[in-house]
Amino acid sequence: MTTAAGASAKTIATLQDRSIQFYRQMVRIRLFEEQVNDLYTRALMPGLAHLYSGEEAIAVGVCGALHQDDYITSTHRGHGHCLAKGASPKLMFAELLGKADGYCHGKGGSMHIADPATGNLGANAIVGGSMGIATGAAFSARRLGNGRVAVCFFGEGALGQGLLYEVMNLAQLWKLPVLYVCENNLYNEYTHFSETTAGDICARPAAFGIHAETVDGQDVHAVYAAAQRLVDRARSGGGPAFLLCNTYRYTGHHVGDINREYYRTRQEEQTWKTERDPIRLLGDRLIAEGLADRGLLEGMEVEIRAEMKAAVEFAMESPYPAAGEVEKHVYA
C-alpha cells in the first residue's frame, strides 16, 4: 500500500517506536548510573566512576542514528555511550567491579569499556585521547569502502587538547566519515568552561571548513535529527562534521565529588534537573502527543530498574579474574 494515508500512518508508528525506544534507552542509562552510585556509596565498587546522568539524550540521540557496525569512541564519562551503542549492563557492571565476566575481564574498569560487537572502540581515560583513534577508524572505513561512520564523543574540556585540531584538519583534507560530538556540560572537572575556552567553539571546526551545528543536548529528538543528517552526510562521502551538544551533568565530576558549592550552585543544578531533564522532556512530549501514557512510562521504569538490579547481582556473583589473567593480553 503506497497511499498517502498509509505512508503517514507508518511514519507515526515509526516515530512512536523510535520515541519509546529513545525513552527506554535514556531511562536505562539513568538507572544504570543510579546503581553505579549506589555501589560506590556502599563501598562495593573499587575506584571511582564518572556518571552520565543528565546527558543521556546525546548518547541516545547520536547512537540512534548509527548502525551496529558503525564505530564510536567514548570517554571517562562513557557508560551512556556504551549502553546506547548496545552494550550489556551485566557485562558492564561486571567490568566496573573488576570481575572475570566483564567486557575486559576486569582489566579495563569503568573508563575502558570496549566492545567490538557493537563497534565500541573503547572508552578512554586520557581527555581527548581517542580523537586520533576515531579518525583512524574513519580512515579505515573510507579505505576499505565498508560504508561505516565513526563517532568521537568528548567533553568540552577536550577542546583544550591539540590532537583535536590535528585530526580535524586531516579528516577534512581526506573527507573522512567521522562525526565529532562535543558534549558541553559546562564544567571541565571543577572549572567552568568559560574560564578555559576562548572564542566561539564552533568557529574552531569551521576554521577547517568542517560543517558544525549546535543542538540542545537535552532534546533527544533534536540530537537525533542533527546526528542523522550529519551521519548520512558522512556516509555518503560528504566528509566530517562537528556537533556541539549543550548539556549538564547532574552529579559530581565523579561519584566522590559530593560538595560542589565551591564551583556551582545547588540552584543551578536544581534548575537543570527540573526544567531541562531530557527524560522528563521526552516523557511529557510523548504524553502530550498521545504516544504514551504515564502508566506505560512508569511501568517501563519499574521493568528497567529490575533489569539493572539483576545486572548488578550478576556482577556481584561473578568471580574475580584468576591470577593468571594478569599477564594475558599484554601482547596479541
Binding site: 582489566k107 586531516l170 596479541a332
Partner: protein
Amino acid sequence: MPDAGMRELTFAQAIREALAEEMRRDPRVCILGEDVAEAGTPFKVLSGLVEEFGTDRVVDTPISEAGFTGVAVGAAMTGLRPVVDIMFGDFLTLTMDQMVNQAAKIHYMSGGKWKVPMVLRTTLGATRRSAAQHSQSLHAWFAHVPGLKVAIPATPYDAKGLLKTAIRDENPVIFFEDKMMHHKLKGNVPAAEFTIPLGVADVKREGTDITLVATSSMVQVALGAAVLLEGAGISAEVVDPRTLWPLDEKTLIDSAKKTSRAIVIDEGYGRYGVTAELASVISQGAFFDLDGPVVRMGAMHIPIPFSPPLEDLTVPTEKSVFETARKMCAKA
C-alpha cells in the same frame, strides 16, 4: 656463504624492499607520514613506493605527528596495517600519548578484544651535525613500556627481515633505523623471500676473550673495534640483540659466560637506558662466569651539541671501545 641470490643493498634499499614486498602481499598495509609519497621522505628511503602503490596507500600527512600516529592506531584497530613514518626520532615526543597510553594498552585494557597491528618507523643516531633536536636515540623509552615491541636492526639483511616480521605482527612495533646507515651501510640481502623473528639475537662475529653487545649504529663500531682488538691479540665476540623487546636474553648470557667479560654499547643515553638493562640481564645470568662488572658505553649524558669536534665526543667510537676492551682483558 656467497649465494647466487645475494645482492648488495644499502640499508635504505633493504627497508624499501621490505615495505614494497609487504604492500604487494597485503593490501591492508599503508604508509602514513610527512613527505613519504613523491618525496620518498627527506632520507629518500621510500622513493618509488608511491609510483607503485599510489597516494591512497602512501599517504602524505600534515606535520601532525600526534594526529597521524593516532589515526594509525585507529586504522590498525579497524582493519588496516599502517606503517607510520616519524622522520626524526626526536619527534617521537609528539607521539607519546598515542603510542604509550593508546597503542600499547588497548589490547590489554580491552581484555584482548582489540588489537593494534601497526609499525612506527623512525630514526636514531648522532654525528650527522644536526644538533640537539635531531640527533637523539630514544629507543629505550619504548622498550620500557609493556605492550610495545622494539626492533633496532644494524644491517640491511636484518632491517629487511625484521621489518617484514614487524608489519605482520599483531602488535605495535617501533622500528628504529640509524639515519647514518641509510645510504652508507651496504650488505648482502638474499633476493628470495625471508623474514627474521623478533626476539632472536645474532652473533655478528665470534670470539673468545670478550663479548661486545652492540645495537644499531654501534654494531659497526663494535665490529671495527673487534678488528683492532684482533691486532692486539684479543678475540672479541660481537652480539647484536636486534630487538630490545622481545629480548633474546639467552644468547647474550651464553656469550658472556663463554668469554667471561662483556661491554654493552648502545647509542642511547646510558642512565636508566638500554645498556643498563642489558648489563643487568648479563650480570644476573652470567654472574659466576664473569671476571668483572659488565661495562656500559653509550651517549654522554648531555644534549647532543652541534659543533663537530664536540659532537664526536658524545658517542662511543671504535677507538674508545677498543681501549675499554683492552683494559678489561689486560686486568684478567
